[in-house]
C-alpha cells in the first residue's frame, strides 16, 4: 500500500487511479468487487470469462475523475463480443489510460458512501452516508473524528436519516452491520495513520445480498513535509 502511494507521489499524481485506490482500501480490509486491469482486447475477454458475465469495463487512469461523463464506463456486458466492443470504445476516447478495468458487475438496490476528509480544526474525519448518484442531492451523511471505535461506527449507521435502509428492506436482508462497522473503523485508521492521504471517497458501496462491496473508490493524495503534522 505504501509503495502504491509513494510511487504515485513520486510521479506527481494528485489522485490514485480507481484500480490503485481500491488496492489501498482493500489492503485496509474493505471488500471490493473482483477486477483486473487489462492491457489488450484479448486480455479483457479472457479476464471477463474468468470473472464470469456480466462484467463492467472502465477506463483506468489517475486523470479520469469523471469516468461516466467521459464515456469510460460500460456496464452490464453479457458476452465476449460486447466486451470487445466496449474495450475499443473506451480505448478510442483518446484518454491516456493505465489500462481497462474488467470487473465483476455487482448488483444491489442499496448504495452507501464511505469517506475520509481532513478538517482544519479536527483533522482526519470519517464519513458515512447514503451513496450513489444522489449523494450530494440527498446529503444524508454523518462524521466522526478519526480514529474511531466500533461504537462510534455503529452510532454513525444509526444516525443517518435513511438508516432504515440498513434493515431488511423490500425483500432484501438486513445489511451486515459488522462489515460496515469494520470498514468505517479501517478508513479512520488509514486516514489517521497515512498523512499522505488527503481524502478518500468510496462511492458507491453497493449492498450485495447483505454484504457491502466497494465498486468505485478515489484516494486523493497530499504532499507532506518533514515534521508536519498529519492532522
Amino acid at each position: 500500500m505504501e509503495t502504491i502511494i509513494q510511487k504515485a507521489l513520486k510521479r506527481g499524481q494528485r489522485v490514485l487511479s480507481e484500480y490503485d485506490s481500491k488496492r489501498v482500501i482493500q489492503s485496509a480490509g474493505l471488500a471490493v468487487n473482483r477486477e483486473k486491469l487489462a492491457g489488450s482486447r484479448k486480455e479483457a475477454i479472457s479476464i471477463a470469462s474468468e470473472i464470469g458475465y456480466p462484467v463492467v469495463l472502465k477506463g483506468c487512469s489517475d486523470k479520469a475523475a469523471h469516468k461516466t461523463e467521459m464515456g469510460l464506463v460500460k456496464l452490464n456486458l453479457g458476452n465476449a463480443e460486447e466486451v470487445a466492443k466496449a474495450y475499443d470504445e473506451i480505448t478510442g476516447k483518446g484518454v491516456d489510460l493505465d489500462g481497462v478495468l474488467v470487473g465483476e458487475m455487482i448488483r444491489g438496490d442499496r448504495e452507501f458512501v464511505l469517506g475520509l476528509s481532513r478538517d482544519p480544526q479536527f483533522g482526519p474525519c470519517v464519513m458515512f452516508g447514503v451513496g450513489g448518484i444522489f449523494t450530494e442531492a440527498v446529503k444524508d451523511v454523518t462524521f466522526r473524528v478519526a480514529p474511531i471505535t466500533e461504537r462510534d461506527a455503529g452510532e454513525m449507521l444509526d444516525e443517518i436519516r435513511l438508516s432504515k435502509l440498513l434493515t431488511a428492506f423490500r425483500g432484501k436482508p438486513a445489511v451486515d452491520r459488522r462489515a460496515l462497522v469494520r470498514a468505517l473503523v479501517a478508513i479512520g485508521d488509514l486516514g489517521y495513520r497515512s498523512r499522505e492521504i488527503a481524502e478518500i471517497d468510496i462511492n458507491p458501496v453497493i449492498i450485495s445480498g447483505d454484504q457491502p462491496i466497494a465498486v468505485d473508490a478515489l484516494v486523493v493524495l497530499q504532499r507532506t513535509e518533514e515534521g508536519e503534522s498529519g492532522r
Binding site: R14, V15, A65, V113, G115, L116, S117, R118, D119, Q121, F122, G123, C125, M127, G129, T135, E136, K139, V141, T142, F143, R144, V145, A146, P147, I148, T149, R151, D152, E155, M156, E159, Y192, A198, E199, I200, D201, N203, L218, V220, G227, E228, S229, G230, R231
Partner: protein, 475 residues
C-alpha cells in the same frame, strides 16, 4: 508532530495556572482612570460595589489617581506588593510593552480586554502574534484579547465592565453553573436572563480571540472546581481534538451553542466526501463522539442548565405526561414524538389505580385531571414515579391555584428521592411562575418546548456518561 520547546512548556501546564484568573488576592487594572466613560473605572467599581471583592486593587493611569477605591499609581513599578493578576484595558498598541513588564515582574496571569487584535486585519494579527510570543517567553497565561473578562460569583471577583447591575444581582445566589463565552454580548444576554431565574452562576469567562486560554483549558479547570454544569458559546474551535479530550474527561454536562453553522465547505475539494465535510457537519459528529450536548438556540444556554442542577438525570426514554388541560396533553405528546423519548405505556394495574382517583379524566398517558385538591396531585405523582413504567415526567399544569406551586415543590423532592426527573411547565399565571422560580427555586421552564428539550438533553447526558472513555488518538 513537531513542537517548539516553548510550546511544550505551554502545553504541559495544567489547570492550576487558571486559578489566579478567578481567585486573585490582588489585581492591577491597566488603563483604569477617572476620565469620562473609562472602562477600567467600571471594573474598579464592579469590584468594589457589585461583588465587594476582598482583595487588593491597583489602578494604573498616567496621573496615578485612585479610581473607585482602587489604589492609583503611574506605573507597575510603583506597586511593591505581590500581584496575582493583571487586567489590561488600554489602547492595543501599548499592550506588548505591558505584557513584557508583567512577565518580568513575575505576573503569570493576564486578561486583555482591549480590542484591536486578530479581529482587526493584518496589523492586529501582528500585534496578537507579538503578545503570543511574549506569553510563551514569560510562560504566562492570557485570557483574551478582545473580551469582557472574568466573573467569579463564588469568590467575588469580577473584571467585566458594564455588567455592574447584573452582577450585583447574580452575586446574591452563587451556584453550580459556569459559562465559557466567546462573546461579551452573549454574557450580557445570559446574565440578564438569569437575574429572574435563580440558576446560580459559579463562574463566567469571556474568552474573546482566545490567543492562549481557550474553551478546552477552561473545561479542564471547571472539571476540578465547584461547577456542576458547563455552558459554552463558541464562534470557532481552535483545536477540535483538545476540546473533545477535555469533554471526554469530565462527567459534568457540557452544553455548547455554536454559531456559524452556514459556513461553506472547501470549494476546492476533489472528493464528494470533502465537499460535504462542511465545518458544521464535522462539528456535529465531534459533539456526539465526545459527549457534547449541542444546544439548538442561544436561549438554551440559560434555560436548560437547571434541569441538571435541580433534577436527577433521565435514565430511560419512557415519559409520563401529566396535565390539567387535555390540549397540553396533546401538545406534550406531539413534542415528545419529535425526540428519541416515548410516551410511557401504562400497565392495566397502573391504569386502574389512576382511574380510581376522583377527578382523573384520562387514566392513560397523558394523565389529564380536572379541578382537584393537592392530595390528588401527590397521589398521581406517586403512582407514576413508582410504577416502574415511567423514567421521567413532563408536567404541564395550570398554576392559577396557589397550591400548585407547593405540589410542584413536593414533586421536585419526590423526583430526587425516586431518581427520576420531571420537567415543569405552566401554561398560565406567568407572574406566579416567575415568583415560584425565584422564591422556591423551582426548575420551571418558560415553554412546553423547553421542558421537552430539558428531558431530551438530560437523557442525552445519561447516554453520554456511558461512553466517557479516553479518545483513541494521542494528545
Amino acid at each position: 508532530m513537531s513542537m517548539s520547546p516553548a510550546m511544550k512548556i505551554h502545553e504541559a501546564r495544567g489547570v492550576s495556572d487558571m486559578e489566579k484568573f478567578f481567585n486573585p488576592s490582588s489585581v492591577v487594572i491597566f488603563g483604569a482612570s477617572n476620565a469620562k466613560f473609562n472602562l477600567g473605572a467600571m471594573i474598579c467599581k464592579a469590584l468594589r460595589d457589585a461583588v465587594q471583592y476582598p482583595g487588593q486593587v491597583y489602578a494604573v493611569n498616567s496621573a496615578g489617581d485612585d479610581v473607585a477605591g482602587a489604589k492609583g499609581c503611574q506605573a507597575l513599578e510603583d506597586i511593591r506588593e505581590d500581584i496575582d493578576l493583571a487586567v489590561i484595558i488600554t489602547p492595543a498598541s501599548v499592550i506588548p510593552g505591558l505584557i513584557q513588564k508583567c512577565g518580568a515582574r513575575g505576573i503569570r496571569n493576564v486578561i486583555i480586554e482591549s480590542s484591536g487584535f486578530s479581529e482587526k486585519g493584518e496589523e492586529g494579527r501582528k500585534l496578537q502574534n507579538e503578545i503570543d510570543r511574549l506569553a510563551r517567553f514569560y510562560a504566562l497565561r492570557i485570557i483574551g484579547p478582545n473580551c469582557l473578562g472574568v466573573l467569579d460569583i463564588e469568590r467575588r471577583f469580577c473584571c467585566m465592565y458594564g455588567a455592574e447591575e447584573i452582577v450585583s444581582v447574580l452575586v446574591r445566589h452563587p451556584g453550580p453553573v459556569s459559562y465559557i463565552l466567546q462573546s461579551g454580548g452573549v454574557a450580557e444576554l445570559v446574565g440578564e436572563r438569569l437575574m429572574d431565574d435563580r440558576l446560580g452562576v459559579n463562574k463566567m469567562v469571556c474568552i474573546g480571540n482566545k490567543s492562549d486560554v481557550n474553551e478546552a483549558d477552561l473545561i479542564d479547570y471547571f472539571d476540578t472546581d465547584h461547577t456542576e454544569v458547563i455552558c459554552v458559546y463558541l464562534e470557532n474551535v481552535k483545536d477540535g481534538r483538545k476540546l473533545m479530550r477535555a469533554v471526554k474527561k469530565t462527567r459534568k454536562p457540557v452544553l455548547v451553542y455554536k454559531s456559524g453553522k452556514s459556513e461553506a465547505g472547501r470549494a476546492a475539494a476533489l472528493s464528494h466526501t470533502a465537499g460535504m465535510a462542511q465545518n458544521d457537519a464535522v462539528f456535529d459528529g465531534a459533539c456526539r463522539q465526545a459527549g457534547i450536548i449541542r444546544l439548538q438556540s442561544i436561549e438554551e444556554l440559560h434555560a436548560l442548565p437547571k434541569m441538571f442542577t435541580r433534577m436527577p438525570l433521565l435514565s430511560g426514554n419512557r415519559i409520563a405526561v401529566f396535565t390539567t388541560s387535555g390540549a397540553f396533553g396533546s401538545v406534550g405528546a406531539d413534542l415528545l414524538a419529535g425526540t428519541n423519548l416515548v410516551m410511557a405505556e401504562f400497565s392495566d394495574e397502573t391504569k386502574s389505580r389512576l382511574s380510581r382517583i376522583p377527578g382523573v379524566f384520562n387514566a392513560a398517558n397523558p394523565v389529564d385531571i380536572g379541578p382537584a385538591p393537592p392530595e390528588i396531585y401527590l397521589e398521581i405523582y406517586n403512582i407514576l414515579l413508582t410504577s416502574g413504567e415511567v423514567d421521567g415526567m413532563l408536567h404541564l399544569a395550570g398554576m392559577w391555584r396557589d397550591f400548585v406551586q407547593d405540589v410542584m415543590q413536593a414533586l421536585v423532592g419526590f423526583c430526587r428521592r425516586q431518581r427520576k426527573p420531571a420537567a415543569l411547565y405552566a401554561y398560565n399565571s406567568m407572574g406566579k411562575l416567575l415568583a415560584a422560580r425565584q422564591e422556591k427555586e423551582l426548575p420551571v421552564f418558560y415553554t412546553a418546548e423547553e421542558a421537552v428539550r430539558a428531558l431530551e438533553v438530560s437523557y442525552q447526558q445519561y447516554l453520554y456518561l456511558d461512553k466517557k472513555e479516553e479518545p483513541l488518538w494521542k494528545p
